[in-house]
Symmetry: C2
Subunit: 120 residues, 2 copies
DNA sequence: TCGCTGATTCGACGTTTGTCGATGTGCTTC
DNA sequence: GAAGCACATCGACAAACGTCGAATCAGCGA
């Protein structure tokens, strides 16, 4: 094994989205329910949900804060909500020059949709 | 058409689920975001999410409280959470004798899944 | 280097939430 | 009608949340 230097393994953690089978097919474990509830909680506020949908529907799949911050609350509050969405793993951010761009983390979106889909 | 008596029209109110196009296709209006956020909020607690998944995955699509109430919190708390889910329109309840049975409101589930699905 | 603008962090606040024990209600069976 | 079980409501309380103004940080251009 040639483990010269394992610095900063850039693996996008395959563990990121193990969740979950549709709710209609099996009951959630306690651990999974905690994980999924955290994601739902991130979207459980009108302002956050609007911010999220604005990023998701923005051309190119990304938007800078200045593009989406007119949602009726102060600018610090917008920043606070974006941080929540980031911490929940629903958004990623990247600074480019003066502006900070946000985009959605598509895998997570699919996980939530999958959980909610009818298993038939 | 032999409509002798149209008692208890079994219409599942078409108005029930106007919401919404996928988040990737358009930004939510303020009104829609309030409506959808309320649904997400109902699932934004681990205990509620487990209760919901237990009802959803239970045979026959319904479960009485006694079947699902061992989730680690007291009985009044379970009742409180089931009420929240009911008020959010995610569950319906019906008393049959001593027991109260809960089942999921399938249209609403589809609305949330649709919102989260990639418009692709 | 000095300001200017975009964005985050901090500290404080009123409100909402999740939880519990105690109590109340509805139904069944003696 | 009394007792017992299933479930809901009430009242209280600590913790978490959403919001703001003020302060701070990070680039950019003069």
């Amino acid at each position: 094994m040639s483990n010269l230097e394992l610095v900063e393994l850039p693996v996008i953690e395959p563990e990121a989205v193990p969740c979950c089978p549709p709710v209609t097919s099996a009951a959630l474990s306690e651990a999974d329910s905690v994980k999924m509830a955290a994601m739902f909680k991130a979207l459980a506020d009108p302002v956050r949900l609007r911010l999220f949908s604005r990023v998701a529907s923005h051309e190119g799949g990304e938007a800078c804060v200045c593009d989406i911050q007119d949602v009726g609350v102060s600018q610090p509050t917008v920043s606070h909500h974006l941080k929540k969405l980031r911490e929940a793993g629903l958004l990623t951010s990247e600074r480019r020059g003066t502006w900070v761009y946000y985009r959605v983390a598509p895998e997570v979106l699919g996980a939530m949709a999958g959980l909610l889909s009818a298993a038939r």
